[in-house]
């Protein structure tokens, strides 16, 4: 029930933010090469999924918070930081240079993840 509600809300948010149709977003999970939201990290149950994401240089990664509590996404070595994301809010960052980018939620620091840029 909750997850259906969440995905509907996310879809609505995306439609507002990017003018994408709900159908386009629905297909988005499969990921078409030109899709700007191809690389996503879900925040659910106090964890980042996938915990490790590998992307090509120049990729834009989007984090979406599905929890009922706010989270954020903060680079461990301060390369990037999101504002606080309330339920269904999202944050994107473009990774230009190859490398491993560790990040965590500075509100709930047990939550950690990394993006590997090739």
């Amino acid at each position: 029930m909750r997850s259906i509600f969440s995905s509907l809300a996310v879809t609505a948010a995306l439609v507002l933010a990017f003018g994408l149709s709900a159908v386009t977003y629905g297909k988005q999970g499969a990921g078409s090469p030109g899709d700007p939201d191809k690389y996503q990290v879900k925040i659910d149950n106090f964890s980042f999924t996938p915990g490790s994401l590998t992307v090509p240089a120049g990729a834009k990664v989007t984090w979406i918070n599905h929890d009922d509590v706010p989270h954020n996404v903060v680079s461990t070595d301060k390369k990037f930081a999101s504002p606080v994301l309330d339920t269904d809010e999202q944050f994107s960052y473009e990774f230009k240079d190859p490398g491993t980018y560790a990040y965590y939620c500075s509100i709930h620091p047990k939550m950690t993840g990394k993006v590997i840029v090739q």
Partner: protein, 319 residues
């Protein structure tokens, strides 16, 4: 049905089985007294019916925690109303508390209007003063700048402070800032140094009450329910005969006695959280509407001067 629990074999004089019996009542409200190393417990309803002399202590105060003003998800769509009910419960106490402690997560998203609503509700609290420590929800986006402007007057560093009331030394600590990746709550070097020097001048007979948002004991580190450097803080308090540690954050009552230190966590006034390990993660727990108020509440603490007696009562909004 008063239960007197005799001393066991351990040095602290508290019989473990007896203590657990006391613990088992915590969910519905329990009244525990540690007097001369002997722990006694009473149920809240017994207290209400017959009255307990010990409840009229030399100093009494209340702890409010995790009001999360601004939260509106299904677990509780009206957290302002339940905070108001908590205030009404406190205002109905036979002896007005000397002051109130709010152990953090005043707001859900650190929004100015959320702080305003909290202030508005707590204005009707019949007590002379409210002392605050921040929760992680109160320092979002600005590292606690707004929190300090509103509640940090007369405090040190990021908002820590101490004060004395009727011979009891109170210490408010901040463990929700500068958190490190993979870690738990953090006090930090500067605060620890301050704490060490703050208690240096005190006699070992001085009762100490420490309060902070995240538990200062390892309740459940897997969920972040603990503080990385709490052991160092507690090492400065080892020489004292009576130390009480009051925390919030986990939205449920839990108690532990270790030597002279009693650890206690309070209920939230906003929403319950699952018991450690009983869900995939912490977070707001949706319960049937008729059950919600039995899982929300406040804590009432009494000190009996001279006898080193402490009484902690957890009181739900509805039993």
């Amino acid at each position: 049905m008063r239960k007197f629990i005799g001393p066991g074999s351990s040095d602290d004089g508290i019989d473990r089985r007896g203590f657990l019996k006391c613990m088992a009542w915590a969910g519905t409200g329990v009244f525990c007294i540690i007097q001369g190393g002997v722990l006694k417990s009473y149920s809240l309803s017994q207290m209400a019916q017959h009255g307990v002399d010990a409840a009229k202590g030399d100093l009494s105060f209340v702890q409010i925690s995790d009001s999360h003003i601004g939260f509106s998800k299904p677990a509780n769509t009206d957290v302002t109303a339940t905070l108001q009910e908590a205030v009404a419960k406190i205002n109905a106490l036979p002896t007005p508390p000397a002051f109130a402690l709010h152990t953090g997560d005043l707001t859900h998203l650190s929004k100015p209007e959320e702080f305003d609503t909290l202030d508005q509700v707590l204005k009707s609290l019949k007590t002379s003063k409210v002392f605050y420590v921040p929760g992680e929800h109160d320092v979002l986006n600005d590292n606690g700048k707004q929190y300090l402007e509103r509640y940090g007057k007369g405090t040190q560093g990021e908002g820590w402070f101490s004060f004395d009331q009727k011979g009891v030394h109170f210490i408010g600590l901040v463990n929700v800032l500068n958190l490190k990746a993979g870690g738990l709550g953090t006090l930090g070097r500067e605060q620890l140094e301050w704490l060490e020097s703050d208690v240096k001048r005190l006699k070992t007979s001085t009762p100490i009450v420490v309060f902070a948002h995240i538990p200062l004991w390892a309740v459940y580190p897997e969920w972040g329910w603990g503080t990385d450097d709490s052991e160092q803080a507690l090492s400065y308090l080892k020489r004292f005969g009576s130390v009480t540690v009051l925390n919030g954050h986990i939205h449920q009552t839990m108690q532990k006695v270790e030597g002279n230190v009693t650890f206690h966590t309070a209920m939230s006034t906003a929403f319950p959280q699952p018991q450690p390990g009983t869900a995939p993660s912490p977070g707001p727990l949706k319960v049937p509407a008729e059950k919600l108020r039995s899982l929300l509440g406040v804590t009432h603490v009494n000190f009996l001067g001279g006898k080193h007696t402490l009484a902690i009562v957890d009181s739900a909004l509805q039993s």
